[in-house]
Subunit: 343 residues, 2 copies
């Protein structure tokens, strides 16, 4: 028997445990061209909140009763594929489960001697690639410029900060709590890290940011939005760049109609900033850019081996704990890339 | 004696006649390196509303008591310059006045046999260049795509529409009133033109736009904002481009704190659209891009001569009528490029 977690009902606002269902089912058998994977680690990422909602987004929603979607790594334990053998390590979108059958064309083989397989979920996986892509392709970083990124200890923010630092930028992180801020500076080399919980409102936060960004902000890598966006927009320099890959602080509220913290009361202010400061604001969804993934690995893989890029993982144990860990992720309760060890 | 119009006081909301002062002063004499210009035509443009406000913008404000800023064309009637002779036609930022002295380095010589000198204020001047630059450099137009532009009969919108049409795009204009919509289609070749006054709200407008844009919208050239922006955003295609050069419908309200029509109640919706649709939103101020002006003239000048680019001018007479004409411009009362004949 295997376990999996399905979507029991669509959440209103923040997800709760009752929105998920833990099921025991028979382990499936691979068909021709498929393999059976024993999942060792599964990934929890903020984007999954979007998949729980019905309605138009960039990817189709998880249906009620379906296994929750997500990336995972594990071991091939049965194969009807010409590409993969038993005991191969693989990555794939295998879902919140202990086992899964998958087509061999949808899996990527991993070499566990190069890096721990968990890195394929974080620093060398989708989140790390997101940070690298957005910064290098849309942020157009120039030596001497100032960059700000939120969720600075997460797998996206920490990649953005470290790549920016390696290119000679001044890097300012934003994170929730003193522990994360310490980690951002000591492990990821941020010049400063600002605790957004220490400020009553975006005005206070702006005043503080102004002090640590004496030359303004050239790149704001947007992954959280909310109060941080409000505080940063007035400090953006002319010709500033804002790659937008997420808005975690709003994920639980946008679709529920709940009020959103720090939204700037009027859109015109923001539109005016874009015009007057001649900003480039560009949204991107990393799944449309896998063509650059090998280049990312060629560039960042060696930096990981040499220790020039650090990473932080937060591993919890047991698939049954995934729903509460996921809810905590959206509240910023994890420290580093959140991963569930399932086998 | 000469006449000029100064800023008497800063407007709150829409500008009124009392914000301006008509003065008679002595005609100044040119110093070394300067010429005296008898102004024939002066330009009225929406950006001037911004100059009337105090506060940070992309250009410094007009001070109280100073001549209102603006482009103008006229005849050199006295010269202490080695570059310009009496009877030369010139363009410069000469202000709202009947005469002005200016440094020869700040003037551009015009050849009135190539095109009427008024075209240097509109179709071949700053507004036309704004439309051409934003569309070609930021809009990245591709044959077969759909473009929407507001103020379709204005000098920016009509340029955008015509250049887009020449590149094989489907062009949809937005304008206020049946007369303008007719002009947009018949003179500027728009495939459709939508009368924004015909819709009670952005929802109605969106429904109509949807019909005339069956394949969605790839480029929205933003110069009006307001209700139009609201209606268009849901129809933008993936990887759409939004060059932002203005937001006329908000000019009178942004700085007054007044409520703004069609603002989308919350910023998050717009931020979410940028992310999910992977839009590129880029503000630009044309004064930073004069390096491409000659290329624009090389490309569009011949199209004007051959009749492939049409233009529409709305000329009023008498400098004393400039304030009311300017107030009307912000309300969309002009038909085509608004110009004041002053001498």
């Amino acid at each position: 028997m295997m376990k999996r977690i399905t979507l029991a009902e669509r959440p209103i606002g923040a997800p709760e445990e009752k929105n998920f269902r833990l099921e025991e089912i028979k382990i499936p058998k691979p068909k021709n061209g498929e393999v059976l994977v024993e999942i060792h680690y599964m990934s929890l990422d903020p984007y999954m909140r979007g998949r729980m909602d019905d309605g138009k987004s960039y990817a189709k929603p998880v249906e009620i009763g379906e296994t929750m979607e997500g990336g995972a790594v594990g071991l091939v334990i049965a194969s009807k594929s010409k590409i993969f053998n038993i005991n191969d390590h693989v990555f794939g979108q295998l879902g919140w489960a202990t086992h899964a059958c998958a087509k061999d064309t949808e899996l990527r083989k991993l070499d566990p001697t190069l890096a721990p397989i968990t890195t394929s979920l974080g620093v060398l996986g989708m989140p790390g690639f997101t940070g690298w892509y957005g910064l290098t392709q849309l942020g157009r970083p120039q030596k001497g410029e100032t960059l700000v990124v939120g969720a600075a200890t997460g797998p996206v923010g920490s990649m953005v900060g470290q790549i920016a630092k390696s290119k000679g930028l001044r890097t300012i992180g934003v994170a929730g709590g003193a522990e994360k801020c310490m980690l951002a500076k000591e492990k990821f080399g941020f010049d400063h890290c600002i605790d957004h919980k220490a400020f009553a409102d975006s005005r206070e936060m702006k005043a503080f940011l102004q002090e640590v960004c004496p030359n303004g902000i050239d790149i704001y890598f947007e992954n959280v939005a909310g109060k941080t966006l409000d505080a940063i927009l007035p400090l953006m320099n002319r010709f500033g760049r804002i790659p937008v890959c997420g808005m975690v602080s709003w994920y639980n509220s946008v679709n529920s109609g709940a009020s959103t913290e720090g939204t700037m009361d009027k859109l015109p202010k923001m539109w005016r900033s874009i015009l007057i400061k001649q900003l480039s604001v560009t949204g991107f969804i990393i799944s449309n850019h896998w063509d650059l993934y090998k280049r990312f690995l060629r560039e960042v893989g060696p930096m990981l081996s040499s220790g020039d890029v650090a990473y932080q993982e937060h591993i919890i144990h047991g698939i049954e704990n995934a729903p509460s860990a996921f809810a905590g992720l959206l509240e910023g309760q994890n420290l580093g890339k959140l991963i569930v060890k399932v086998n």
